[in-house]
């Protein structure tokens, strides 16, 4: 076991708000929305027609031949990972490839490839299916592509826990460093599955917002009028390393990853426990792991997807585990829900909130839910709020009853 702290030395993202971290963060603080209405013909019969598409096409950020061998979920993973890797300067630190690891999660994997090649199969037969089909659809594909991109030989892992995948990747990265299985770990999450089938599946679950006429106002976590999430696409990545070696090489440290924990609800396959019991246990365990108390935590970047049951369950979990003093942000109100990338993107936002000492506002929270827990929480709205923060929590939950909590502290 290593006794050193674990720090964040690189950040990367490509999101509905921007093609990199600074653009995304500026757009978030400016209150801009990444949500728009789909205008393709196929959407006409759909009850939910909204999407948060990437602000920058990954094909503009990658070499053409390289891009055509990567599923869109892999393209954005590579884009975000390369940004984080470059920013960290880890490549110039002399770290051996055998001591570099990757943990990159996805909720769905290469759905666009799977579905696109199924069309090829139906129309043209089995001999026309691309030889890249399998590597492009496998859920470990994004992690593998990122590993190749940065030359990681210390292990490449791909946690899959629906919308908690990105956060789970970060927790694995923390463990790898604590157990001294690597010196540098690139962690993150990715998703790109805007396609008629996933849209129909989520719509059939009644999980998506049908506020089609007001795209920018559709994702409204904690608001009385919320009616579901908006599907988003993108990826985010962080470079983690032990603090002693990062400081020794003079790396810029954005924040510390002080603790992490995961629990399972053991309640229902998709519905969250109504009191957020498993979520609260995750937050409490992550705090214990970080050796902090609820009073130390000043900010929570909530999972809050804008579904009626999910947001109240999380409000209950935040209150019971941390209390009412924390400043809560629900950034999916502007980014949409990036599924397997959500935990990683919101971890980036949590790190930036600590570094910049500012809490992003929750858009569209015009009329907070009557639920007593929502009413009691201090959910930042209107404008971002300046605050003195030393520790912040990032929640992520996934279909399957997965609960992840990450605790970051200032550098």
């Amino acid at each position: 076991m290593s006794t050193s702290d674990v720090v964040v030395t690189g950040l990367g993202a490509t999101t509905p708000l921007g093609g990199d971290v600074p653009t995304t963060w500026d757009a978030l603080l400016a209150g801009r929305s990444g949500v728009s209405r789909i205008t393709d013909d196929w959407i006409k019969e759909y009850p939910a027609q909204l999407v948060a598409r990437l602000a920058t096409e990954p094909s503009e950020q990658l070499d053409r031949v390289r891009a055509r061998r990567l599923d869109r979920s892999q393209q954005v993973a590579v884009v975000a990972a390369e940004q984080a890797w470059a920013e960290s300067g880890a490549a110039d630190s002399g770290v051996a490839p055998e001591r570099i690891a990757v943990v990159f999660g996805t909720g769905i994997g290469g759905a666009l490839t799977l579905l696109g090649q199924d069309d090829v199969l139906e129309e043209k037969g089995p001999k026309r299916v691309s030889p890249f089909t399998i590597p492009m659809l496998m859920p470990n594909g994004p992690a593998a592509a990122v590993g190749l991109s940065i030359g990681a030989k210390g292990g490449v892992h791909a946690p899959v826990s629906a919308c908690a995948s990105g956060a789970e990747a970060i927790r694995w990265g923390l463990d790898l460093l604590r157990f001294d299985r690597a010196d540098v770990v690139l962690v993150g999450g990715t998703e790109a599955c805007v396609h008629p089938l996933p849209m129909a599946g989520f719509a059939a679950m009644r999980a998506m917002s049908t506020r089609n006429d007001e795209p920018e106002r559709a994702s409204r976590p904690f608001d009385k009028g919320r009616d579901g999430f908006v599907l988003g696409e993108g990826a985010a990545a962080l470079v983690l390393e032990r603090g002693d070696s990062a400081r020794a090489r003079g790396a810029r440290i954005h924040a510390r990853l002080a603790g992490a924990a995961g629990t399972a609800d053991g309640y229902d396959l998709v519905a969250p426990h109504p009191e957020g019991e498993g979520a609260a246990r995750a937050i409490t365990a992550a705090l214990r792991d970080a050796d902090l108390t609820p009073a130390d935590v000043g900010h929570v970047n909530a999972h809050a997807t804008s579904t009626p049951v999910g947001d109240t369950a999380e409000a209950a979990a935040i209150r019971s585990s941390l209390g009412d003093h924390v400043l809560v942000s629900a950034t999916k109100s502007q980014t949409g829900h990036l599924l397997g990338a959500a935990g990683a993107l919101e971890a980036v936002f949590t790190v930036l909130a600590l570094r910049e000492q500012v809490v992003p506002a929750t858009a569209n929270l015009d009329d907070p839910d009557d639920d007593a827990n929502v009413q009691a929480l201090d959910i930042v709205r209107g404008e971002p709020r300046r605050a003195t923060l030393t520790a912040a929590v990032n929640d992520s939950f996934g279909f399957g009853g997965h609960n992840m909590a990450l605790v970051f502290t200032t550098a």
Binding site: D63, V65, R128, P131, F132
Partner: protein, 81 residues
């Protein structure tokens, strides 16, 4: 029937599209794997594209014998029409 020159330029177009090979580099003596960095999965894509462009199917056991751009040109020349 395509001429040798037409086959070479058609093949060069395929190589550029599938594997990013600069057309001027797609000369007969070049080895796909050694010189042009074309991997085995890309060779499968090239074979499919050759069938579309020239109407010449390359069975798997023949594909393994095609090592150079020149090998591919000869195979297409021999089997077209």
């Amino acid at each position: 029937m395509s001429s040798t020159q037409e086959i070479q330029s058609g093949l060069a177009e395929i190589l550029e599209e599938v594997a990013g090979v600069t057309p001027a580099d797609a000369t007969p003596e070049k080895s796909f794997t050694e010189d042009l960095d074309v991997d085995s999965l890309s060779m499968v894509e090239i074979a499919t594209a050759v069938e579309d462009k020239f109407g010449v199917a390359i069975p798997d056991d023949e594909l393994g014998n095609i090592k150079t751009v020149g090998d591919a040109i000869s195979y297409i020349e021999k089997n077209q029409g």
